[in-house]
């Protein structure tokens, strides 16, 4: 039986997509991390398609990309915990997150899964989360957004 007092993670990578789920997952992660004095790294990946070189100056000039991380940082501060932020450019978001987590020896990756409201409502799981679930060397938390009341 697992030790219930053991921290769920020592260092977690929080995958930030700029979606509605960013704030709740950062708040949740910060809350847990604060209790266990764990480290948090917020990672946002800007996907660069094959028409541009990987090191093209895209994310650095993008206020949107910066804002995703700044909002996450502010959310963590609101929960009285520090979030280190990393902005990446990559061809594949899932691979970049897994690689960054591996390099930082993170023992947890936390991702958010928003509810798709259009087309009758569904969870658009996409390809990033399955990639992480399949390839991450550490534990993965996927925090699913609550279903709207009218569809629950």
């Amino acid at each position: 039986m697992a030790d219930s007092s053991a921290p769920p993670f020592r260092r977690a990578v929080v995958a930030l997509s700029g979606a509605r789920t960013d704030r709740p997952i950062v708040a949740l992660a910060a809350e847990v991390a604060r209790q266990h004095h764990a480290e948090l790294v917020g990672v946002h990946v800007v996907e660069i398609d094959w028409t541009l070189p990987l090191d093209a100056d895209v994310a650095g000039r993008s206020e949107d990309a910066q804002r995703v991380l700044d909002i996450a940082e502010a959310t963590a501060e609101g929960a009285r915990h520090r979030l280190e932020t990393v902005l990446l450019q990559a061809r594949d978001v899932g691979a970049a997150i897994v690689d960054e987590a591996s390099e930082r020896q993170a023992d947890m990756i936390i991702c958010g899964l928003p509810f798709r409201r259009r087309f009758g409502g569904d969870f658009a799981i996409g390809r990033t989360i399955p990639y992480i679930l399949k390839n991450a060397p550490c534990a993965v938390w996927v925090v699913r957004e609550a279903m709207p009341e009218e569809q629950a």
Binding site: D55, D57, L87, L88, V98
Partner: protein
Amino acid sequence: MIGGRRPIQGRKLADKRVRVERPHSAYFRYAGPGQLVAKPAASQARSGFGRQWLRAKAWLIGRPLASEDEISERLSKRLALPIFSSDAISSSAYATEEILKVLALAGAGALFLSIPLAIAITGLLTVVAISYRQVCRAFPGGGGAYAVARKELLPILGLVAAGALLIDYVMTVAVSTSSAMDQLISMAPVLDNGQDHRLRIGIAVVVIALITVANLRGLRESGNIFAVPTYLFVGLALLIVMAGVFHVVTGTVTPFPPQPEVTPMGTQAIGTFLILRAFASGSVALTGVEAIANGVPAFKPPEAKNAANTMLAMAVLLGTIFIGVTVIAHAYQIVPSQDLSGGPTVIAMVAQTAFGKDGPLFYVFQMATALILFLAANTSFNAFPRLGAILAEDGYFPRQFSFRGDRLAYSWGIVLLAAIAAGLYVLFGGNTTNLIPLYSVGVFVCFTLSQAGMVRHWVRTHDSGWWWRGIVNAFGALLTLVVLVIVLTEKFEHGAWVVAVLIPTLVAMMLFIQRQYRASARQLAVRPEFVLPPKLREERAIVPVPGLTRAVVRAVNVARSVADDVIAVYISDDPEDARAMRERWERQVPGVQLVIVESPYRALAGPFMAYLDVLDRAWPPGHEEPITFVVVPEYVARHWWERILYNQSARRLRALLVGRPHTVVVDVPYRRDEADRFHGLDAESSTPADA
């Protein structure tokens, strides 16, 4: 900016990624399109001295709080009561004594009047408290009497109320500190031998400084620091009152033994004059009642309701303790000690009736009394800066008073109050009675104006219950006006005239400040229909050059980036030197016109200014005058002590250029540590001191 630009290899061959540097993230945070929020690091000092200073400040008053923390700094009723009511509640520690001192002038037989007088003053307190509860609800923005009188009566009457309140708050600090020292001396007479008051004054000034620091640490923190002594005083005072009333009711009272320092009994007749004077003296019990109404925004939401309820709690506690102490003092035949005799205070003797002369609770109570009297000063430290901030926002006070410090406290107001109150205390030699005549006049001016304003408020708004509320306020206004007249008449020659002079002086000062701000606002105002036109005016850059140095080269470069028309001006008193300078300039700085002004009288700034005037006059008539950028090269020394060696001429020139029409002064610093990176001209012939 891409950090390193070299892709980082992932676990799989095709998985590469690039880390992007975020240079802004250390200092700013994006809050929306085109909007940045500064982080604490952006406000960090850049110099070593500045960092040391900030570190010392953080140690003394705490780490800076963000504006968004303001809501968490708000006060609960539990904390607001000691912060805003310690002044009013502490009045019960000396109000009875003030009544007895006046009645003693008519002999021991007049002391019985203290009870009806205390009841009358408590009645007045009830009316004033009800009125201020209504002020809290009607004016949730705070400001108390000032806000009411300004809006409901006349702006000038608002200023009269503000002036009176400001005086009141300063007096509160001085009087409370003085009374607190009396209490300490009751407990430890060694602190004042009746002749030399230096130790007493020294302790008081240190305490004022400590309260100042506590307040600079912010509202909540000072509330936490000061809550315990206030509640301790209230608890023990209620215990004394209960014990005293028990003895009175059961008939077990034994008269208090006479003290050697007792006030000598007078032989005046008991008349209206004496009674009114005693009433006026005892009405100091009402001081501080208005503080809650001034600080409504400091309460947690719902602000007005919480403030009104705190006001009620304060009035009940104050009334109970005041009447209780007066009844006990009368029952035990307690007579006040002479001023500065070192004898016990009335409240100390009353405490002895319950706790005994050497009982531990007596000492605890005396300590709590001394503390609450010091903390009464703290009420002013909250109310004065808030009023100052409101006045500053309305343009009647310098704007700095509306700026919040690192801990969200109005630091300017706090420091100013401490300085004036400590100065006043020292000036009056720490004697409470000398200060009290200055004290109660301002308080009753505020009471009268705020209640008169509230009458108009109810008549104007016709809110629910307006008629009975209006009647309460009208009655209160009349009552406090009568007391004001009594206080003013009775105490005029004892020092109240100072307040009568000070209030109009303060009003005049506030009007003057407002006129200045209005005049500057008019001059700076941009009309709503104004749209910035395309660039029309021409510009030229004039560089005063003291020689050919690296600082000058940099200034010339800046000048060339500002304007096409660049003229370097060299003032010289030596024709040979001037010739050499021209030869060198034309060789090393080609394309920039050099004008040499020979100055046979060796003046530098004067001929330069005259040259600028000549340029202006030479401008073709009918054309709008150009903007003249005076680009001043400045050598920045590494150490502060080196700086006195350099830039004196530049400093003088800048001072002369301030306010010159169509002229912009541009400082171009050249730092000593940049010398190594400079790949320009050799500067052997000129010293930086010329710059």
